[in-house]
């Protein structure tokens, strides 16, 4: 994708966000925006604060300073329920699936907020609750087809190989039909074939559903290929923000990644 067909409408903006754990500064005055429809990469060495940033966006962490503006609404902090109900879905670095549940059930939990019948009908499993369950089941099946995981529909996810678990986790996030999808190292621990599959899914999600994506990834060739814009963090500070070409040529970024000799 080139810069021309990028919309300039901002979906999410974080401004001057700082987050401390005790005396440790996880984030220090970070500001960037995510435009509607783009794939935005957040990169940086280990411990740079990338995951913390995602946790701030979906409300797991509450920053001490700064604001988060999502869909035009400015807040000092998000709450997980708020984030989820306003269309932010995510995956986790260390896979947080419901291990005892089947693939289908995991994906169905992603539709939790789409299901509105009350407990009374559900307890009886009749009437509107049953109809709703079937409708949402159909949506879940679409996602299973999309991700090509029909064969493991009924399998408990705890028993699946790592690459497939990552895929199921993506499926659960997609089931919520998110506007903003946060992916925390979607390709960590994958072989090159699995990485290619995952890249294809990410691009398809972005193009077909128009989902805005923010992703953390360590594989630089993947990042450069996938993303429209990249923000670089290092020790909680923002090092650079720009197009892949600019980031690749940025001297400070190269130093942060490769280290530099001070002589």
């Amino acid at each position: 994708m080139t810069i021309d067909n990028l919309s300039t409408e901002v979906l999410l903006r974080v401004e001057d966000v700082s987050l401390n754990f005790g005396g440790v500064k996880a984030l220090d005055g970070v500001s960037f925006d995510i435009r509607k429809g783009e794939i935005r990469a957040i990169i940086g060495p280990n411990g740079a604060g990338k995951s913390s940033m995602l946790n701030v966006i979906n409300g797991f962490y509450h920053p001490q300073r700064g604001t988060i503006t999502y869909k035009g609404q400015t807040r000092n902090q998000m709450r997980p329920y708020q984030a989820a109900s306003q269309g932010i879905a995510r995956t986790f670095q260390n896979i947080a699936l419901f291990k005892g549940m089947s693939t289908l059930d995991n994906i169905m939990t992603g539709r939790n907020l789409k299901m509105k019948t009350n407990l009374f009908w559900q307890a009886l499993y009749i009437g509107p609750a049953r109809k709703e369950e079937l409708e949402n089941r159909e949506a879940a099946e679409h996602i299973i087809d999309f991700l090509d995981i029909q064969a493991i529909r009924k399998k408990p996810v705890g028993k699946l190989p790592y690459g497939l678990q990552k895929r199921v986790e993506l499926g659960r996030a997609l089931a919520a039909e998110p506007e903003l999808l946060l992916l925390d190292e979607p390709m960590a621990g994958m072989n090159s074939e699995e990485k290619e599959d995952m890249s294809r899914f990410i691009i398809d999600v972005n193009l077909e559903f128009g989902t805005t994506i923010a992703l953390i990834e360590h594989d630089m060739s993947v990042v450069m290929d996938l993303s429209d814009r990249i923000v670089v963090l290092d020790y909680g500070r923002q090092l650079a923000d720009g197009l892949p070409g600019e980031i690749r040529a940025n001297k400070e970024v190269i130093e942060a990644y490769l280290g530099v000799s001070h002589d």
């Binding site: 997980p80 699936l97 005892g100 549940m101 169905m108």
Partner: protein, 298 residues
């Protein structure tokens, strides 16, 4: 042979009564990892409230039961608001201590509201021996126990459907599995906790009704929670079928041991047999028959 069947059957029925209490423990442990020490007292409190509604307010049985259910749901809400909400992310031992406190609060509350004398609970559940069983099979079995077994079966079926087939049930399982992931898909922990504690409050009511009908509503009722412990160790803390089958094994084991081994050691096996069995399980299969095996990586 008839005698042996009689012993086993009466053991099964007693076991169902244990299962009813154990079930309440399992529900809360599954969804929040809390071992709810107050489960027995909740059964007592529910039974006291039920009797109180009937005796003091002269409510008909159905209205008193409905009223008690409302009280148990309100109680769940208060527990979530006043206790659980403030202890989020705390160690399990702290939550456990909090439920010990809750047990005393509830016991005191029951005492203040409804008095401490032993009360009869008569809901019109049939009492005495089942004539049909006696006539056809020459087996002595209490009607109340058959009733309790049938109720437990219905309740477990409803719970199983609720857990497996509904979105709330799925959300409950999700919370039990991974708090953070559950939050990320927009499941509200607070709502889930109110629901679980309500459901286990209702299960406590059923247990309270059965035990109350059998031996009167008295404060020693809260001690049946102790008998639920070996049941849980046997069945596994996280398994609903485990609670049921564990209860039955304990019930049958106790009765059979009492009748056939008792004479050799001077009797009174029934009082400690369950705990010995639990101890054996702790040594050889600590996760219980159906519980999840927990492997801690060091």
């Amino acid at each position: 042979m008839i005698f042996f069947i009689e012993v086993v059957l009466s053991g099964l029925m007693a076991g169902v009564m244990y299962s009813l209490v154990a079930l309440g423990f399992v529900l809360i442990f599954k969804a929040s990892g809390i071992f709810n020490f107050a489960q027995g007292v909740m059964a007592l409190f529910a039974a006291l409230t039920l009797v109180g509604f009937m005796e003091k307010f002269g409510m008909p049985v159905w209205l008193a039961i409905a009223g008690t259910i409302v009280v148990m749901i309100a109680l769940a809400w208060v527990i979530e608001r006043a206790m659980l909400r403030h202890l989020i992310n705390q160690e399990p031992i702290i939550l456990f201590m909090a439920t010990i406190g809750l047990a005393y609060v509830l016991e005191g509350l029951g005492d203040i509201l409804w008095g401490s004398d032993v009360k009869l609970l008569d809901l019109g559940i049939p009492q005495g021996a089942s004539d049909w069983m006696l006539d056809n099979f020459d087996i002595y079995i209490e009607k109340l126990e058959i009733f309790a077994a049938a109720t437990a079966a219905i309740m477990v079926t409803i719970l199983a459907i609720f857990f497996q087939k509904t979105s709330t049930g799925r959300a409950l399982r999700a919370v039990a599995d991974d708090h953070q992931a559950a939050l990320s898909v927009g499941i509200s922990l607070h709502t889930i906790w109110v629901i679980v504690w309500s459901v286990s409050g209702i299960v406590a009511l059923v247990a309270g009704i059965m035990w109350g009908s059998k031996s009167g509503v008295q404060f020693s009722l809260s001690l049946i929670a102790l008998k639920a412990l070996p049941v849980l160790i046997l069945g596994g803390f996280t398994s609903v079928p485990g609670a049921i089958i564990g209860g039955m094994i304990i019930g049958v084991g106790e009765k059979v041991a009492e009748v056939y081994l008792g004479p050799f050691v001077g009797g009174a096996i029934e009082n400690w047999f369950a705990y010995m069995l639990a101890l054996a399980f702790l040594l050889f299969r600590p996760q219980g028959l159906f519980g999840e095996k927990i492997i801690e990586r060091v």
